[in-house]
């Protein structure tokens, strides 16, 4: 084989993997990178999208959103909404998964519960929002039951009162999202070898000790992975909040997604909306990198 042929062959071998990858790289580039880069570009322009000759704005739009107290309120609401949702998704998901995995419950009842518990997952965000709007409206079922039980003295405007609105939307989101944890943890529970529990029984371990020293450590990889994913997804929730409260009353449920949406489609300030979107992207990116590092470490 001549030297030229060898070089050609080596080159061919080096390029081949990239050629195989090229269709997916093109798709990722067009559908993910291009829009992302475009939005980042908009955030540095004046009158982005709305003018054919936008001028360079530098960091002006980032400065504007960082100076806006509503942005910081939105960030705080996003963190509250996300953290509470993830914690309760995990707790409720774990309780239900343990229940469905328990041999002490009648198999028929277990199957019925399995269907019931997974129901919230079958509804779209819009349906969930409508359901909870109807349930929590001042003349709705929830107020009626709570009044009859004497838990509340007068009708509560769950979504319309600044005191309760954020808790109400968080509650609706918790209801909507726990099945992901439940299903994942149930799969994890079924994968834990029975020997561990038998050995614990021989050692005289109590139920809570088995939970703390066997179940949770065994499920930890799933808990961390799903929690991180849930954190990223919940941070970007939009339709549920938009349909139930529109970010109000006042700014009580304004989160980063509704804040960005209003900048874009109410104020038509697409440059500032892009800057806000980039901030969300950076937060999500940070979490994603953390997730990837965790996955690699495993």
């Amino acid at each position: 084989m001549t030297r030229q042929k060898r070089t050609h062959h080596r080159l061919k071998r080096a390029v081949a993997p990239y050629l195989y990858l090229s269709p997916s790289l093109v798709i990722i580039g067009l559908l993910m990178l291009l829009p992302m880069v475009t939005v980042i570009g908009y955030s540095f322009q004046n009158s982005a999208v709305l003018r054919r000759d936008p001028s360079f704005a530098g960091l002006k739009h980032y400065q504007a959103i960082f100076d806006d107290p509503v942005f910081w309120a939105s960030l705080w609401h996003t963190l509250y909404f996300t953290c509470m949702s993830v914690v309760f998704h995990m707790t409720i998901g774990m309780i239900f998964a343990l229940m469905l995995n328990s041999d002490r419950i009648n198999p028929t009842l277990r199957n019925i519960l399995r269907v019931l518990y997974i129901l919230p997952w079958l509804f779209t965000a819009v349906i969930i929002a409508v359901i909870w709007r109807l349930l929590l409206e001042p003349n709705g079922v929830v107020n009626s039951i709570l009044l009859q039980l004497g838990i509340i003295g007068s009708k509560v405007e769950w979504f319309s009162s600044p005191r309760t609105a954020l808790h109400a939307v968080t509650f609706a989101n918790i209801w909507a999202g726990y099945p992901l944890f439940m299903v994942s943890l149930l799969a994890g529970l079924q994968g834990i070898p029975k020997d561990f529990y038998e050995a614990a029984d021989i050692d005289g371990a109590k139920a809570y000790q088995k939970l703390i020293f066997i179940t949770i450590p065994q499920l930890m990889p799933i808990i961390i992975s799903i929690s991180l994913l849930d954190f990223i997804w919940t941070m970007q929730v939009f339709p549920l909040i938009w349909i139930t409260t529109g970010g109000g009353p006042i700014y009580a449920t304004e989160v980063l997604s509704t804040y960005t949406y209003k900048l874009a489609f109410s104020s038509y300030n697409l440059s500032q909306a892009s800057a806000s979107a980039v901030v969300i992207l950076l937060i999500s990116l940070g979490l994603t990198l953390f997730y990837i590092r965790y996955q690699k470490a495993r």
Binding site: V49, L50, N139, S160, T245
Partner: protein
């Protein structure tokens, strides 16, 4: 054989090409983007376009239809990229932004060139002196009164002033029965309640929220209106859930006998009847401040129409606009939409056949169309800002004066 077929085929192809080419040269195709088609009876707008095409040989119209919100976004992007359709359906709230982008053609020269009779149109929306929009169909917002609830509450005379309205609202309110005098939707998702349910009180009394083209929210008219709304709220006459209530929910509450009065679009009359055929209701103009006897401003939303500045067929586009604004066609279109006409001479057929519409038409004729958000920059954003301040006021966080001052500050930043 082959030699015989080939020349024949060539001749046919040439003839077809000639026919197509001459056809293409003769026909101008106008693109007309709007959200009206889905809201009209199926096929009715297309039928009007077919009639236009028959009356104007050589002009074809392609309808680009979608829901309101989608159309709005499509038009915004089209304006930015210079790809706006030749003729566009417009909401008054959009025109300022579109004009700032130089996306809309000035129809003044077209009107002059065609000797268009300006007195026949109900309104011409102008921005910076440019005639950019005609309201084709107007949906007015009177007060709907549940007559059964009014009678049960002992309200014999329907309110004409704000004081009478407050009194009637108090009488109709029975919170223990989930029954309230008035309903106010201030959801931030669609802040149009600020325009339809709040500012309408200002316009009804011939007042204004503007002064010299700038916001004047700290003036007496707006502060008085806010104080009036606060007094209704303090008296417990407004159905709860104000801050997240949407227009649809407002209508549902009225339909289900849960509120005695609401300000709403006339376009909902048929919907209300369909949802509750037994509902006994009447329409009255929005009540005014004590002692006001002048003409009443009637809040309205409209289907507007304009021409793209980038259109290569502005002459033909103007023909279509003229056609839709003409007495006969306009009357037909608004009859289909249950709206009031953009041509003052047009008379929709439903006003003679339907008592409620007939009454509303009388209100329409004795008053004038008023919507000061039309032509304002980022109108929806202004409504959102006012909405937030009104919510703070109703939550007891600030006074009407403080709400007005805070909204004024926010609005001025947008002018």
């Amino acid at each position: 054989m082959t030699f015989r077929i080939k020349p024949a085929m060539l001749k046919i192809a040439a003839a077809a090409w000639l026919l197509g080419a001459t056809g293409a040269m003769a026909d101008t195709t106008l693109e007309f983007t709007q959200w009206w088609e889905p809201e009209l009876p199926a096929g009715s707008l297309r039928a009007i376009m077919d009639e236009f095409e028959a009356a104007n040989p050589g002009i074809k119209v392609t309808l680009v239809s979608g829901p309101y919100a989608t159309t709005r976004d499509q038009i915004s992007v089209g304006a930015a990229t210079g790809t706006l359709s030749d003729v566009v359906g417009l909401d008054g709230a959009w025109v300022n932004n579109l004009n700032a982008q130089n996306a809309l053609a000035d129809m003044n020269p077209m009107m002059d060139a065609s000797k268009f009779d300006k007195s026949q149109v109900a309104d011409i929306i102008k921005v910076d002196g440019k005639a950019v929009m005609f309201p084709v169909a107007s949906f007015v917002y009177p007060v709907f009164v549940n007559l059964d609830l009014a009678a049960q509450a002992g309200v014999t005379k329907l309110p004409s002033t704000r004081a009478e309205f407050l009194d009637a609202a108090k009488k109709m309110t029975h919170a223990d029965k989930n029954q309230y005098g008035w309903v106010l939707p201030l959801s931030l998702q669609t802040p149009s309640g600020v325009q339809n349910d709040m500012m309408s009180w200002v316009w009804a009394s011939g007042q204004s929220m503007m002064a010299d083209g700038k916001p004047a929210l700290e003036g007496k008219p707006v502060v008085d209106m806010l104080s009036f709304v606060k007094s209704l709220n303090d008296a417990g006459t407004i159905s709860p859930g104000i801050a997240t209530k949407t227009e649809q929910e407002k209508v549902e509450e009225f339909v289900n006998d849960r509120v005695g009065m609401m300000i709403d679009s006339l376009a909902h009359v048929n919907l209300i009847r369909k949802r509750n055929p037994k509902l006994n209701f009447d329409l009255i103009p929005v009540p005014v401040v004590e002692g006001y006897t002048g003409k009443r401003g009637l809040p309205y939303a409209s289907w507007g129409i304009g021409i793209s500045a980038a259109s290569k067929h502005q002459e033909e586009a103007w023909k279509l606009v003229q056609y839709l604004m003409s007495e006969k066609v306009n009357g037909k279109l608004v009859s289909l939409a249950n709206a009031f006409p953009g041509n003052v001479n047009a008379k929709p057929d439903f006003v003679t056949s339907d008592k409620a519409f007939g009454k509303a038409f009388e209100i329409f004729k004795t008053g004038y169309l008023a919507n000061e958000f039309t032509g304002l920059p980022v109108a929806e954003d202004l409504m959102t800002q006012f909405d937030v301040q009104a919510q703070k006021m109703l939550a007891g966080e600030q006074s009407p004066e403080q709400a007005a001052a805070a909204a004024q500050k926010g609005w001025m930043a947008k002018f």
